[in-house]
């Protein structure tokens, strides 16, 4: 291991823009997901077959989970939260593939996702409550708490990113260390544990995002 796990390797430069391995892996995952979804949904039928049933179960499960968390119709939030969960699952598990590093093991990716969630909270909050009522929410329960509320918005997004990054990065680091020290088969339990952690972290990130958005639209207490 010649490179720090906290750093992301630059694969190439597009002009003056450095393209890191996380971005390339993300493009690959995007391509796989898009192609897979296109193939899977190009011939959907009312009488669902095997794969269609699986896909419908996944989408319906996410939809129902969001609806249960927000206590309302999940349709406006499904694209963001559903994509977030699916991408996180695929991205977290991509680290299992030999030669690939999970994009979420690079701090930029969780930070970008947390930033999207941060902005989405305000977007949905303003959209569903209106600008003034939404901003007035930061003055509750007491206007004196405005700085703390603003700080809370920032820190929870930061913790969201760092939690995901830390868990995924640490899992990959442990596997790399064990592979280096113990050989080929010993890391398998750690890899299974990393898969479990990846799934759990995807779920946690998505649920917390949903909770934050719910707080933004006023259906969940901040």
């Amino acid at each position: 291991m010649n490179q720090s796990p906290l750093e992301t390797a630059v694969v190439f430069h597009a002009g003056f823009v450095p393209i890191t391995s996380a971005v390339v892996t993300t493009w690959g995952l995007m391509a796989v997901l898009t192609l897979g979804c296109w193939v899977a949904t190009r011939a959907l039928r009312v009488e669902a077959g095997g794969w269609q049933t699986v896909i419908e179960t996944v989408v319906s499960g996410i939809d129902e989970q969001i609806a249960a968390l927000l206590g309302r119709d999940a349709a406006p939030f499904l694209p963001l939260l559903g994509t977030l969960f699916i991408f996180l699952v695929v991205a977290n598990l991509s680290g299992i593939v030999p030669g690939l590093k999970a994009p979420t093991a690079s701090i930029e990716t969780p930070a970008a996702l947390a930033s999207v969630v941060f902005l989405s909270v305000h977007f949905y909050g303003v959209r569903f409550q209106g600008l003034v009522p939404y901003l007035r929410g930061y003055l509750k329960p007491n206007p004196a708490l405005l700085p703390l509320n603003v700080l809370s918005e920032i820190t929870r997004s930061f913790s969201l990113a760092v939690r995901l990054f830390g868990n995924i990065m640490s899992g990959e680091l442990v596997i790399a260390i064990v592979v280096t020290l113990a050989g080929l088969l010993v890391p398998i339990p750690f890899m299974a544990l990393a898969m479990l952690v990846g799934l759990v972290q995807a779920y946690i990130f998505s649920v917390l995002a949903a909770v934050y958005i719910g707080g933004g639209i006023g259906v969940i207490a901040k």
Binding site: P18, T20, V23, W27, C37, I55, E108, L113
Partner: protein, 250 residues
């Protein structure tokens, strides 16, 4: 640890693009097909509900029709039973009447046959009795028995009035009186007959005697306007008439 803002921006952009891609290729189609399925299920449920309502309506109509049919059937059965009862009563009455009529006719015919048989038997008995009496009288009859009949004739003439005698002889002068006896009379007997009749009827007539065995015994005198019969054949005829006269009212 370096933080690449380019990577941060690219990953944010990548994620937003992925949101659009999955919305376009995954969520929208799946939600659409699920919604379509729910719609079809709802439509199928609505159709099933409508068909169920139709079926229940048809069932109610069928039950109503069945009840009506049962009631009509019962009514028809009652009417048929009533008609059968009436018809049976009528047939029984007709049969009884016909039987009584036939029985009456049979009884009447039996009575008539019995009466006819009785009458026939009586006729035959009478005929047999008459035949026996005639045979017996013929065996008893002898020529000497003509004489007592002369006494009866004389006695009869004696009891007649003069006018009645005149009526008997009103045209006697134009011819003779015919005296028929069962047995031929001798000359002496003829004279005696002529003498006795002349005393009662006068002398202005002649007598012509003849024999008629069918008289059995006795005499038959033929006047112009009357016939005096004093013989057993006439007595037997009178007896037979009397018997027949007594038999007719039965």
């Amino acid at each position: 640890m370096n933080f690449s803002w380019w990577t941060f921006a690219l990953q944010a952009a990548n994620f937003l693009i992925l949101v659009w891609l999955l919305q376009h290729f995954l969520f929208k189609p799946v939600k659409a097909i699920v919604a379509r399925r729910k719609e079809e299920i709802s439509r199928a449920l609505a159709e099933a509900s409508a068909e169920k309502e139709d079926a229940e309506r048809l069932k109610r109509e069928l039950e109503a029709n069945r009840s009506q049919i049962v009631a009509e059937r019962q009514t028809m059965l009652d009417e048929a039973r009533a008609q059968l009862s009436t018809e049976r009563q009528r047939i029984v009455e007709e049969t009884r009447s016909e039987t009584e009529k036939i029985r009456g006719q049979a009884v009447k015919r039996l009575d008539e046959e019995r009466i006819a048989a009785g009458n026939e038997l009586l006729e035959r008995t009478i005929a047999l009795a008459a035949n026996l009496a005639e045979r017996l009288l013929r065996e008893l009859a002898v020529p000497s028995m003509e004489q007592p009949f002369l006494g009866r004739v004389i006695d009869y003439l004696d009891r007649l009035t003069a006018q009645e005698r005149a009526t008997l002889l009103s045209q006697s002068s134009a011819g003779a009186l015919l005296v028929a006896t069962a047995h031929p009379l001798g000359v002496q007997d003829q004279s005696q007959w002529h003498e006795q009749l002349a005393k009662r009827l006068g002398a202005d007539f002649s007598l012509k005697f003849s024999a008629d065995p069918t008289l059995i015994a006795g005499v038959e005198i033929t006047f112009p306007n009357a016939i005096l019969r004093f013989n057993w054949r006439d007595s037997l005829s009178a007896a037979l008439k009397e018997l027949h006269a007594n038999e007719q009212p039965r």
